[in-house]
Amino acid sequence: MKLFPIKGGIHPEYRKELTSEKPIVALPIPSVLTLPVQQHMGAAASTVVQVGERVLKGQMLARGQGFVSAPVHAPTSGTIVAIEDRMAPHPSGLPMRTIVLESDGKDEWAELPAPIADPFTATPQQIRARVAESGIVGLGGATFPSAVKLGLGDKNKLEILLLNGAECEPYLTCDDRLMREYAAEVVDGALIMARALGAPQVIIAVEENKPQAFEAIHNAIRTKLNVSLVAVPVQYPMGAERHLTQAVTGRETPARKLTADVGVVVHNVATARAVHHAVRHGKPLLSRIVTVSGLGVVTPNNIEVPLGTPVEALLAFCGGLTGEIKRLISGGPMMGQPIPDTRVPVVKGTSGVLALTAAEANERPTQPCIRCGTCVSICPCGLVPVEMAALIRNERLEEAAAIGLRDCVSCGSCSYICPSYVPLVHYFNYAKGRLNALDAERRKTEQTKALVAARNARLERVAQAKREAAAAAARARAESQTTDVNKAEA
């Protein structure tokens, strides 16, 4: 298959050999699981269980709210001991409503929905409904509710379901191992998703640094006609959905639009496997594969982790930390988020837990920008990071937005390569957040003006009513006086 080049990008030290040859091991169920009600993009789920209630494995604990949402299920059987605000697995460390489940060790299954006997005769709506009620979200890290994404075939004429097996982040090998060990499930899930989307063709893209995964998928698709496999060049950020689409199909998604608008929908390989389990076995999303890596961990591993497991349990399972670590990251080192505390849980979007030493993080004090222009040549989105950062430093945020800040996907390539160690992506993240906050403030001011106008109108109506009542009373008095006079005269 002909491939197309993508602009820019970097070639970091991948360090995948720390875990690439480690088969997936299952973590024993911890004694307490903490499940935030929002592990996905969109509206938070709403709890449907009470404190003290006994729940079974796979039972729904919180229902999705609205169109873009996803439910949360119990990863094991046990008792709900609390529903309260706990620290979210978010860099701010702010609290989120969390369901605390104490496992009873029995791991007893609830009654699951019946498997869909033949997904290829079922309607796309049936498949989507099953995916929705199973709580499946994009497991590549974006956590967008998959059922909604599978509905893109309704509005757009789709041609390709592109399965993302690129895994371009350093250290992460969860998708690599998943493809090697569960290739058949991935392919089956992909075909089911293609049916739900109405896409005639499936392309599975694997980066060239994963030859065994390529081989495994190749064997799994041997007899399938509408599935093809392609090896994409090793380049970060090849796994970004727009860039992967361009690399495999040559189509460039227009700004502010979805890849579906060019006929392609991208899903992660782990999501495909989850769809397979939901449709073929009725199993909701209860666990995910996490790569625990970095030189700061004693024994790096790829682990199948029940959702809600505290990060500290994961680290303990891997032998603990080797000593002083510089950063603890959820996800990959390029786009991952710092973990505020080891007590936070693993959630649906946690593809990796990295304990990085100072040498690995390679952080140095920022020096003045020397305008070398390297950030411009490697930006995969064709932006000018040096100029945007200079504008943001001077609080000229709207001007930065005018030269493309909102097109930035925060891939981190510019920060990675900057010889002066300028924290470019940090500036962009700050600016994007600040612009959103200013937008919210502007909307609030508009709302206030409308409320003030409404209040003034209300007061005016009240005053008007008073005047009319006074006028009516005056007329009544005048009439009764006239009547009295008439009576007197008569």
């Binding site: 004090p365 403030e441 502007r442 001011t445 206030t448 209040r455």
Partner: protein, 179 residues
Amino acid sequence: MLIAVGGLAAMGVTLGGLLGIAARYLTVEADPLEAELQAMLPGSQCGQCGFVGCQQFAAALAEGHASVAACIPGGKATAEALAHRLGVSLDGHDVEDTGPTVAFINEDLCIGCLRCANDCGTDAIVGAVKQVHTVITDVCHACGKCAKVCPTEAITMRPVLPTLATWHWSKPDSSLSAS
């Protein structure tokens, strides 16, 4: 040489005089500015800017006698819009000193007098006579009038805490290591 000096001096005086005449007789009045500025303000007549009402503040802004950062309920967005329109810079103005706040009624102290509810510019306070009043936080824009008028000092302005939805990364420290 004297001719050169005299000639230049004469030119300077003539041209300067012409400019002065133009400045007096050919100036353009800038009336619509005040209305434009007033439209940018929240309009709740809270008085936190130090002026009686939003129209007076806008008038003072138009003449350059007021700071663009004075409107507290308007927040940074309003200050920036005003600064942009007037062509002044926001440097040196501390707009977000206190951060966003919201009114809070201490139910133990509230006597149900309705003074705050009648005064609120956006009808954000619900209550009835002798019933405890409460603030609808989404509607409150923190002008502070209610807190001033409450006879039992039951109302305080509380800072709005960041939530997961409103949190964002802070600005990286731009002081260079070399300094």
